[in-house]
């Protein structure tokens, strides 16, 4: 898989930054230097690929992020039952390790809380 992803590096970086919430502020910052100074907070958030803080965030990133980026997670808005089905599918068909019951609950709770049916990022009108 080595050759493929070279051209994704810059875009990935830019995109990740975009997904980080920014405090609204009135005064414009005009220079590149000032822009760069702000990236440390963004940088920290970026480690979680947009996952908001909460119990189960580390486990979710660790387990789900082993195979795919969190963009696949943050697009979704699913019920607890659907998230449970997703984890089952990942174990049955996609080589995810079977989870300990407490990790399973932690991750399902986290996903349901932050990515429930009313939370999805990419719904469209219809």
């Amino acid at each position: 898989m080595k050759p493929v992803i070279r051209w994704l590096v810059l875009p990935a970086v830019a995109w990740m930054w975009i997904s980080v919430p920014h405090p609204a502020a009135a005064e414009p910052a005009g220079t590149i230097i000032q822009l760069a100074a702000e990236t440390n907070a963004a940088d920290e958030e970026d480690e979680y690929q947009g996952l908001p803080p909460g119990a189960g965030r580390d486990e979710t990133l660790g387990i789900c992020g082993a195979c795919h980026s969190m963009k696949l997670v943050t697009q979704q808005g699913l019920s607890r039952q659907s998230w449970t089905d997703v984890l089952e599918y990942m174990v049955d068909e996609q080589e995810m390790p079977e989870l300990e019951p407490e990790d399973h609950k932690l991750i399902t709770d986290y996903l349901t809380k932050f990515y429930g049916p009313d939370r999805r990022a990419r719904g469209m009108a219809k």
């Binding site: 050759p3 760069a36 963009k71 659907s82």
Partner: protein, 434 residues
Amino acid sequence: MTKKTDDKGTDLFELYAKDPEHADEVVFGRKPHKDRRGFLKGAGLASMGALIGTAIPFHRNMPAGFVPEALAANPMKITGKDGLTILNDRPVNAETPAHLLNDAVTPTSRHFIRNNGVVPENMEADSWKLRLDGLVNNPMNLSIADLKSKFEVVTEQLVIECGGNGRAAFNPPARGNQWTLGAVACSEWTGVRLADVLKAAGVKQNAIYTAHEGADTHLSGKEGKLPISRGVPIDKAMNPHNLIAFAMNGKEIHPMNGAPLRLVVPGWPGSCSQKWLKRIWLRDIVHDGPKMTGTAYRVPQHPVAAGEKVPKDDFGIIEAMPVKSLITTPQTGMTVADKSMTVGGHAWAGDNAVAQVDVSIDFGATWMKADLNSPHNPYAWQQWSADLKFPIAGYYEVWARATDDKGVSQPFAIAWNPKGYLNNSMHRISVRVS
């Protein structure tokens, strides 16, 4: 909007050659966030500024989740692609906004990307081999040069649409990539007919289904596990418009679209059109490869209520995609001073042709017939246009509705199904007349 030509293919291969490892680590490593941080450090906004080509004075006001237009249109996002919306970066999945699909023949730079696995390391055309085996009389190993010399080479404009295109409109939501409108394209593909190759291989009497394998690997890294392997019934496989393609719009296939060799099985879910094609084998059962079984690319065989739990046995494999249309001009959300406007776009209909397209500016109360071109070849999408007159200033929606040659039209509402497939509900755009 500047137009990008699709000549990035060679740059891309050069880039691979230069420093593939670093990029691979950063994006495909098991803990990508660590490496990404290193790359980012102190340079996130500066990088964005560099990409856009200038500083962003009001960056503090820029909403979260907001993509600068300049960046959305920046061809550097994915080399050789222009203006695509990236849904996922590992695996890479990206769709094209409707107004960027206005060309009759979709430029390579605007063709959507749908991946299930890790893109293969080696996409070298000269050493590429395609194997044909299973229930055939003459198993074959064919190079791309063999394909070109032994079979008739044909060029056709062919629609490929992801089975999940439109999933983002499902309510309750369905899991998977949340495609809106743009997981569809009609590029010009050059290759040999799948049917010709199958005939040369000599399909045995008891073969009923094809099985396709590509060179992409499973996201989990598990050795030998295929990310996806789908097939089609022999009848469909023998359709003369299926190609084993080695060129896209007259040039190399884009690496993210399956270079150097792929199937194009138009009119059926894109997943039938295996990318990075390495093997086609014939079977005497319905192929049971990854994403053929369970509920993948399947819908209930009876109507269901939105949100209903459907037993697995009630699902059937999706075959032809349904009739559908897009409004590709103007872009949605325009404010215009003129009360006259030409709207247009494309329409397509799975294995059928489109017979008629109608448009409405009054939420479907009245309709007018659009002008409709015949397809360049079967399985090409068809262009339509209509001259609209808005009676007074105000907010309008333009709706488009295609009807195929069997009399089947697009619905207004979605026929909900658990996995979010086959949304062919009418496309609508907003227009404000000032």
